[in-house]
Structure formats: structure tokens, C-alpha cells
């Protein structure tokens, strides 16, 4: 059965605005499951899901795992360390082996851009991209969108600025595609060495100074600065990065009260974001984490063939259970 999203969720670039909204709307009823005393519904009972994490990840993997377990799926985790991949198995062989075990879904995290699509093209199971190289991290963008919508009541017309290492960031790419599809205005800001050449062509505004970005934006999405960027020469030092691009209390002093600050985590406190900001009134960082589980439940449910309008019923354990 083909779901309303197609077979896979590889990237936000492939989705229509309608499909994005359908995921956000489907996530709404699922939020409540995590608030129950018994956090489990039988929506994906009997489905087998492999979490294939070939690059280190804590938050995303755990978030997917909770989403799967709360929907009653059977899950297996494969991590980079200790897996056959480390022993030299190629991605295509991993794919074929998974196929041979007749699993229903694969959630893949991989260090190479395009790896999720590579897998999706080779196996009949549903494939969900949990981050591929610098390409996309669609569920992160979806949970960011949901969090923004929760707080602001809309996405359309908002000014959202993504701050940090845009060049290497899959979170940035997925957010840019998603926000533009939902008619938000998008800005990016970071050291010029960490912005892709010609990024304006995607339809985003480029800010060279973080102060200008903050003044412009309704929402800031502050990216994690990978510490290895300093070693490879993209920035002179972390201290300098914080000095010129860090989202600090001082820089937020004159910002309106309802300016939102998001961060996909894990944070480097004192580098891209000051502790006082992360823990302060603008921050919705922990709301993002909570929403992450609901968004992933929604994606799993929809890809398994669930109907968006039946999500509420499915949650009650009723007729919405997916075939």
C-alpha cells in the first residue's frame, strides 16, 4: 500500500507543502501519547523496523526508538561500531541483507550525502532518512516546523534565520526547503567560509553579521558548530566564532519578547549559543525534543499507510490501525 508520502521519506525537497502540513497535522494527536501513564498504542503492531545508524547519534536515534516503541513496532538497532559495516560491508550489501530479512522499515543515518536515497532505491521497505551527510535531515526540519507553528500559530510569512555552519549542515538544507515551501522567509548567517557559494539562488537572504540577522528575524535556528571545522581551517578559533557569531544574551537584549530560539542539539554552550540564551525565555529547545517524538510517530504512521485523518482514532487503538 502506497502511503500519502510515497514509499520513503528521503528529503523535504521531495515533499509538497500539502504533504508537509499533513505530517505536522498528523503529529498533533500523537503528542498526547507521550503524556500518558502507559505510553503505548498498537498502531504499528507486528511491524519490524531497523534503526541503521552508521554515524554516531544519540538524540535522533533515541527519539526514533521511542516513537517506534510507543507505536508498538518491533525494533532492532544497528550502530556503526561493532556492525558488519565496520568490517567492510558495503551499503548495497547491507541493504540486500536487510531486504532478505523482510523488514518493514529502515531508519538510516549515514555520513554520506545521498545514502538514504541510495538505500531507498534498492529495497522495497520504507526508508526514513535520519540524516545523510550534508544533504538532509527531514524529521529534524519537520519537528522544527511543528515547534515554530506551536509557538507562533503559523509558518507563513515568518522570518526564520538559520545561524552557523550552513555549508555542512543537513539540518539547514531541510529547514530551508521546508520553510520556503510553507512560504516563510528564510535567512542564513554564518562565517562566509561556512556558507555555500551561491546559496542565494535557493531563495534565502544572506546575513554577514549576526546582529543584522537577529534584528530581522522572528525565529533563530542556531546550528551546532562541529568542532572539527576549526581543525580544517574554516574558522580561526571557537572563541572568535562565539565573539562574532554566537547568539548571546547581550545580542538578544533588544530583541522582541516573542523571538524564538531553536537549536537541533547537541549544544556547545558558550560557542554558538550562550547558556543564558539556551536556558532563557526565548528558547524552545526542549519543546523541539518533545515534538521530535510526535513527528517521528507521524512519519512512521503515514509511511506505514496510515491515513492522516484517522490518526486520532488510531491513537485510541481503534480502526486507524494500519494494515
Amino acid at each position: 500500500m502506497v502511503s500519502s508520502l510515497g514509499k520513503d521519506l528521503v528529503g523535504i525537497e521531495d515533499l509538497t507543502a500539502q504533504q508537509i502540513l499533513s505530517i505536522l497535522n498528523t503529529a498533533e494527536p500523537f503528542k498526547e501519547i507521550s503524556e500518558r501513564r502507559i505510553k503505548k498504542v498498537p498502531v504499528l503492531r507486528g511491524k519490524t523496523i531497523v534503526n541503521l545508524f552508521l554515524e554516531p547519534s544519540t538524540r535522533t536515534r533515541i527519539s526514533f526508538e521511542f516513537a517506534e516503541k510507543r507505536l508498538s513496532a518491533d525494533t532492532v538497532n544497528i550502530n556503526a561500531t561493532g556492525s558488519s559495516v565496520v568490517k567492510g560491508e558495503t551499503l548495497v550489501d547491507t541493504a540486500r541483507n536487510l531486504e532478505a530479512m523482510r523488514i518493514d522499515m529502515v531508519v538510516i543515518r549515514h555520513g554520506s550525502s545521498g545514502a538514504a536515497r541510495f538505500l531507498a532505491e534498492r529495497i522495497p521497505s520504507n526508508v526514513i532518512n535520519a540524516g545523510d551527510g550534508a544533504h538532509e535531515h527531514p524529521t529534524q526540519a519537520l519537528l522544527d516546523l511543528l515547534t515554530i507553528r506551536d509557538q507562533k500559530g503559523k509558518i507563513e510569512g515568518l522570518k526564520v534565520c538559520i545561524i552557523g555552519d550552513i555549508l555542512h549542515s543537513r539540518v539547514a538544507r531541510s529547514n530551508i526547503f521546508g520553510l520556503l515551501k510553507l512560504d516563510a522567509e528564510v535567512g542564513v548567517c554564518g562565517p562566509m567560509t561556512l556558507l555555500p557559494q551561491g546559496i542565494e539562488v535557493l531563495g534565502v537572504k544572506v546575513f554577514r553579521r549576526v546582529e543584522e540577522a537577529i534584528e530581522w528575524a522572528d525565529v533563530l535556528n542556531v546550528l551546532r558548530l562541529q568542532l572539527e571545522r576549526m581543525k580544517s581551517g574554516f574558522i580561526p578559533s571557537l572563541r572568535e566564532y562565539n565573539r562574532f557569531y554566537g547568539v548571546s544574551t547581550a545580542r538578544l537584549e533588544r530583541a522582541p519578547r516573542d523571538l524564538l530560539v531553536l537549536h537541533p542539539g547537541p549544544m556547545n554552550r558558550g560557542v554558538e549559543i550562550d547558556s543564558a540564551v539556551a536556558d532563557g525565555p526565548h528558547s524552545v529547545i526542549l519543546k523541539q525534543v518533545t515534538n521530535g517524538v510526535a513527528i517521528r510517530m507521524a512519519v512512521l504512521y503515514l509511511l506505514a499507510g496510515g491515513a492522516p485523518e484517522l490518526a486520532e482514532a488510531a491513537k485510541q487503538g481503534g480502526e486507524g490501525e494500519v494494515p
Binding site: E13, G114, G133, P196
Partner: protein, 427 residues
């Protein structure tokens, strides 16, 4: 057994070296071109090839081919590569030295030459390395490599980053009258790149190699060639500014020859979309403005040579995530069909110029025999049927490499008979 005498009857003979383009008979006798003329008498024992409606040209010459042997025989061998060459109409190919071990000694040069002779398909000319181990540090024994059969030197696959070493190579090679071929790429600027840096790489989240990585290095090579008077041969030019720099250097009288490849003439980085590893090549497929400039340079002769940069890989190696797949496209069996379809049929280029770029000029640039059908020369002849319509199917390749972004392309025209030294090696 191949017959001693072959009469190619009534074909359109196109040989720029003699200013020829008309319907003639061509007689091959004892391995050489014996006579050209209308209604030639011929000995009774000659095999007669009816060439009406076909084109008879000097065998094609490809100065940039990776045969992978020694060390990469799962990708290609000298024999399979040479077999693929004659299937594509090439009678002479120059084997790049980035093998394992690299071709950096007289013994390894002699090995390639001898394996080529034993294979008995196209002529295989070894190209030696510029530096020992292709490490970019110390010159190879260039004179001895030439004595052993090397027709040029290059560190292809890697650029020569040390400008001082390039100066020495260009100056030293003058005494031996061979070109120094360079893969122009500033490794600092291109570090980590797997495709062209531009809009497509930004969208796909793949690291890019900017045009400037190639431009800087082309400019450097041209200046050092000018300084030394050496002959620089710039490989697989892919950027608009690179073409322009070469055009201006030629006008100044710098000794430079330069290649265009079929893929840089015909494709852009849009071909990479969908993470197609068969379109992963170095230098990368670039933007449309660059493709158009390469085409313009090829048409006006700035890029004087068509070279395939035939780079076979095993299918397992290409069936990986884009970052992990190796660079390279096979070209020997598609180049002629692509050029006939996209340059001759479309009237962008006349046949005489196309033959010059694919045979006469590359032969001259690398000092090879061939590239001509003058009576008395060894008979390297390709017969082309311009009417045959065919679809590129990598599974039918003689090459072990199947990696081409042109799979499924509908082409018109291909080699139907290839003769090397008077011997029929493909029909």
C-alpha cells in the same frame, strides 16, 4: 587470418592531412596504405570491403586512456582496454601511468608497451610518470622512459602541485621532444570536493570543487610552459576561464595543446542529480556556461584534441554512496558515436575537423605515427557507418568498465571496421 591486401571501395575518404574529402578507393597492402584513387585496380587476392555510404578515415587516436594494468585488472586490462578501443574506432591509445605500481621506470614502460603488442588490438603507447611514485617530489628518469617507449609524461590522476618540479619537467623534457601532460587541479582549492561547486552541490549537500581550482592550475602551467619553452598538454579542460586562458596563451605562442572530453562537451553537473555516481568524474561536470565554453573552445580549436579520459571502474566501486564512489567515466566505445550524433549530425562541426581533432592532431601532439592515410604509412584505418542507429548499452562493452552516464543514449553512427597496421582488428 586477416588478408594481406584489403581494398576499401567507394567510401568517402576523409583525411585532413592530405586535404581529402571525396569518394575514393583505398588499397592496403602488406600493412601499409598502398594507394588511393578512383576505380583502383587491385590484386585478385585482395579482400574487397564495399564502403559505399560509409566514411573511411585515419584510425582514431586517444591520448588519454586509463587501462588500469598493472594493479587494477578487475577494472580493466591492457588487452580489454585495447579491444574496447578498436571497437570504438581507435587505433592508437595512450595509457596513463597511474597504475599500481605506477609507470615510472623503464621496466614498467616496457611492460605496458609489450602487453599492448601482445594483445594485438589497438596500438598502446605508454605514458610515463613525471615524478617517481607519482609523489610529486623527484623527476623520473625521463630520458630512459622515452627510450623504453614512453611518448609523454604525466602524473595524471594527481596534478603536479610543486611549480618548481613542473618547471624542471617542462624544461628537461624538451631534449626528448615529448609533451608534459598535466591534470590541472589545485588540491588546496578542491580539497574534499566530489563534484562541481555550484547550485547542484549546494542542493545535494555534496562538497564542491570550484572552477578556480582548475583555473589557477591552468594559468600556472601556461606560465611555466612559457618560461621554459616546454610543451604543456592540458588534460580534460572543463572551465570557461580555463578555455580562455589557453586561447590567449596560444595567441602568445606558448607551446600548449589541450583536450576536451565528450562528457565535458555534452553534460553539466545536472547529470549528477540523484547522486548518479556514473556522472562522478574529475574534473567534475560543470555549469552550462562552462560546457558551452568548452564546446566553443573545441569548435575554434583552442581545445585541439578530443580525448576520452576513459576511466573504467568495477561496478561494485560505483555502486556506493556518492562520496565513496571513485571518479571516472568510460569513453572508448561511446566517443565516436557521441561526436557524430552531437557534432556532425547537428552541423556544429564538419567531418574533416572532427577527424582532425580525433586523429591527426592528437597524433601530432604526442608525436605518434598515424593520424593520416598518406600512401606509405602503416595502415591504421577506421570505417564509419554514419547511418547506423544504436543505443548505448554498457552490458555490450568490450571494456570491463560499465560506468557511463550515457547509458541508454540513442546515437547515430559508429565504427564498423577497424584496421591496425593492415590487420582487421574489429568488424
Amino acid at each position: 587470418m586477416s588478408p594481406r591486401r584489403i581494398l576499401f571501395r567507394g567510401g568517402r575518404v576523409v583525411d585532413p592531412s592530405q586535404g581529402l574529402d571525396r569518394v575514393l578507393d583505398l588499397l592496403v597492402d602488406d600493412g601499409k596504405v598502398a594507394r588511393l584513387g578512383e576505380g583502383l585496380d587491385y590484386p585478385d587476392d585482395a579482400r574487397v570491403e564495399e564502403c559505399g555510404g560509409r566514411i573511411v578515415i585515419p584510425g582514431l587516436v586517444d591520448v588519454h586512456v586509463h587501462l588500469r594494468e598493472p594493479g587494477g585488472e578487475h577494472k580493466e586490462t591492457i588487452a580489454t582496454g585495447a579491444r574496447a578501443a578498436v571497437a570504438g574506432g581507435f587505433t592508437s591509445i595512450c595509457a596513463m601511468p597511474n597504475t599500481d605500481p605506477p609507470i615510472d621506470s623503464p621496466a614498467t614502460v616496457a611492460f605496458v608497451a609489450s602487453a599492448g603488442r601482445q594483445a594485438g588490438f589497438s596500438r598502446v603507447y605508454p605514458v610515463g610518470a613525471i615524478s617517481l611514485g607519482r609523489r610529486g617530489e623527484q623527476l623520473t628518469e625521463i630520458g630512459e622512459l622515452v627510450e623504453a617507449g614512453a611518448v609523454a609524461i604525466t602524473d595524471d590522476g594527481s596534478p603536479v602541485m610543486d611549480s618548481g618540479l613542473m618547471r624542471m619537467a617542462l624544461a628537461y623534457s624538451r631534449a626528448f621532444d615529448i609533451p608534459v601532460a598535466d591534470h590541472p587541479e589545485d588540491m588546496g582549492l578542491s580539497r574534499g570536493g566530489v563534484m562541481n561547486e555550484g547550485l547542484v552541490s549546494a542542493r545535494l549537500g555534496l562538497q564542491g570543487k570550484p572552477n578556480s581550482a582548475e583555473d589557477v592550475h591552468i594559468a600556472r602551467d601556461l606560465l611555466v610552459a612559457e618560461l621554459t619553452g616546454g610543451h604543456i598538454h592540458l588534460q580534460h579542460v572543463s572551465t570557461r576561464l580555463g578555455v580562455d586562458l589557453i586561447r590567449r596563451a596560444k595567441a602568445r605562442g606558448v607551446r600548449v595543446t589541450a583536450e576536451a572530453t565528450p562528457h565535458h562537451l555534452l553534460l553539466t553537473d545536472a547529470a549528477v542529480d540523484g547522486y548518479r555516481t556514473d556522472a562522478k568524474v574529475n574534473p567534475p561536470l560543470r555549469a552550462e556556461e562552462d560546457r558551452a565554453a568548452v564546446e566553443q573552445g573545441f569548435l575554434d580549436g583552442t581545445l585541439d584534441t578530443l580525448a576520452t579520459d576513459h576511466a573504467p571502474h568495477h561496478y561494485d566501486e560505483k555502486e556506493q554512496a556518492f562520496d565513496d564512489a571513485p571518479f571516472g567515466i568510460v569513453g572508448l566505445e561511446t566517443a565516436l558515436g557521441l561526436m557524430l550524433t552531437h557534432f556532425l549530425e547537428t552541423k556544429k562541426l564538419d567531418l574533416r575537423t572532427l577527424v582532425e581533432r580525433m586523429s591527426g592532431q592528437p597524433a601530432r601532439a604526442f608525436g605518434l605515427p598515424g593520424g593520416t592515410l598518406k600512401p606509405g604509412v602503416p595502415a591504421d584505418v577506421t570505417v564509419v557507418d554514419p547511418r547506423i542507429e544504436w543505443v548505448v548499452d554498457p552490458d555490450t562493452f568490450y571494456s570491463r568498465g560499465r560506468n557511463t552516464p550515457f547509458a541508454g543514449a540513442k546515437l547515430r553512427g559508429r565504427a564498423v571496421l577497424t584496421v591496425v597496421g593492415g590487420r582487421i582488428v574489429h568488424e
